[in-house]
Symmetry: C2
Subunit: 408 residues, 2 copies
Amino acid sequence: MQTPWEYRYAHRIQTLRSSVIRELLKLTEQPDIISFAGGLPAPEVFPVDRFKDACNIVLETIGRQALQYSASEGYIPLRQLIADNANKEGVSFDINNVLITSGSQQGLDFIGRLFINQGDYVVVESPTYLGALQAWNMYGAQYISVATDEHGLIVDELEKALRIGPKFIYVLPNFQNPSGVTLSLERRREVVTLADRYGVPIVEDDPYGHLRYEGKHIPSLFALDSHYHNLDPNAGNVVYMSTYSKLLAPGLRLAWMIAPEQVIRKFVMLKQGADLHTSTFNQCVTYEVARDNYLDEYVKVICGVYKERRNVMFEMMDEIFPQEVSWTHPQGGMFLWGVLPEWMDAAELLKKAVEKKVAFVPGSAFHPNGVGKNTLRINFSYSSPEIIREGITRLGFLLREEVKTAVK
Amino acid sequence: MQTPWEYRYAHRIQTLRSSVIRELLKLTEQPDIISFAGGLPAPEVFPVDRFKDACNIVLETIGRQALQYSASEGYIPLRQLIADNANKEGVSFDINNVLITSGSQQGLDFIGRLFINQGDYVVVESPTYLGALQAWNMYGAQYISVATDEHGLIVDELEKALRIGPKFIYVLPNFQNPSGVTLSLERRREVVTLADRYGVPIVEDDPYGHLRYEGKHIPSLFALDSHYHNLDPNAGNVVYMSTYSKLLAPGLRLAWMIAPEQVIRKFVMLKQGADLHTSTFNQCVTYEVARDNYLDEYVKVICGVYKERRNVMFEMMDEIFPQEVSWTHPQGGMFLWGVLPEWMDAAELLKKAVEKKVAFVPGSAFHPNGVGKNTLRINFSYSSPEIIREGITRLGFLLREEVKTAVK
């Protein structure tokens, strides 16, 4: 007798598909593939020794506490460190504005749980982060995709979208995933003003803000927004998210949300039902690793490494890619965005690329409405400069061939 | 200008309350309270040195891998270890039947996501685990509470409940939280038979199965169920859950689910949207701690400690509690269940108890329908024998006083 499991699933999961990116990551597990598909940090710069020391210190000094249950809100010293860091932008958050989550993905899930009723509209950038769509599809979200250019969201388009009555605006202001584009200061001011005028909250997702390789840091949306609320940390219009996955190590699954206290209290209740709390041990160890400004020093190291890789990729693309293909020039982060000729399908290209042992992510995955068939996301943080040279060469020759065949 | 956050929340969270247990745990943070309220393991027996060695070995040998992103399904050696352990019950699961979750609470959340449509019925024991109700309320579950006695679920009542058409049956067969009761072998067979007959899956939640202080291990429901399906691990009718929180350390947030592969694949998709994957580092470290049968040896140690504490509690209750109060006599686990006289309200008693600096959890929290006002849950794993003597003395004198006042 077979139990008919498939007749028991709730309707919310009927349309559930395995994540395109996660499935593609399986390709990267073949050792002979050069993968620009994932969003992986470079493991060879992980501060393994610092982690070793931190584990030993934590277990020797607060071992029993670190292995025990702890508060849903997170480990207080870590929350304080995060608040202190945010306050460098001229705001005054305290630990009650900070929730530790099990990775940013959990933050995205909580945002869906807290805000999205079946059929609610969410404003997203076009393209936008795939993981957010994946989290919010579960709650029945519909999307209003706002066009972007090399300075981020196009503000006139955003205002039109706000008149539709969305639940919130989702923005990745720095070195966006997938496009690599950064929202300009002028537009940030306009986005914050519009959001306040229409009473629509902003979800600011900022995993890459510290990974800047040129240019100057641009104030966060939460900092710009605070001036509309007399700098009251509990009156703002922004939920801010960031993560240690890109600053230290993703294997810890440690991220955070910053928001007005009343919103954090709701997220804490969701946290209790979702996983009680994030690993106490990982929080204690990460605090021990990050403290005494170690994180600032370490970020300089990874910025040096990623900048070199980005530059090598730019050079190789300039040299080898056919002129029919263009790409963004991110000032930081991990990704750039390629635009192929209109007639070219990136998903088809991927199949051929995998035969040549090189991989990327087709851009349509980053659009809720399936457009962007001729676009692709390329990661430059994971592979060494040598591998980047080889991979871009393979991809470049494939592209040239495609263009040549089409011209015939 | 204040942003009206409260008008933006989705309807599913309008009825959200902070967990009674989590709020009560805040009481236990006052150092002068003797708390029998929490479900905490004894931190003084955490194998801190073994963890230290494991961290060093992991970081020295596979440090980069342990700090990197990893598969949503979990770390393969750990999944293999879990499958091997389950297979000691005469079944033949492989790693494709195992998903690592961020604590059992996440497993409960996933079960709600996968199975519960708004208004669906779920069969639960009366009383049942509070964290499950908390997870499933979010998905709009309704509950059919089936009465229990000292041998667990009453089977005739279960059959009546199955005719109502529930989505699944939720059972904690071993040393149940909160009651401490164990489902007898005979009833297990009957539950499995009924579930198969009515085509209703079983969710078997087993955090305490290895914490047995007397008597013999009783086969798991998944093992009994497997005989209805020709021992095919992918044809069964049970989703099984257990956790390292009670076997090793809850601060890691590491638990697992075992189910037919088609069901695990669905859970994996939910995992991708919820938090991508559980901490790679914690999975590697826990495997390193648990391997080479260390876990079996360690479980003997904690069983020794908890058995002594349970016995001290039994003795003290026998000696001091008034005869109007009765309690269960669990053969394992962490909790016992007290029944007060009908007219006594455990929540009112708690207020007086906190004044005397002793705490427990009122039993009504463990009933979806608010009954059980005269019941309470008492934890015996966390406090030392000395503290148990003092705490039960305080509680016993309070109870005597209450009974005496009422008789007048």
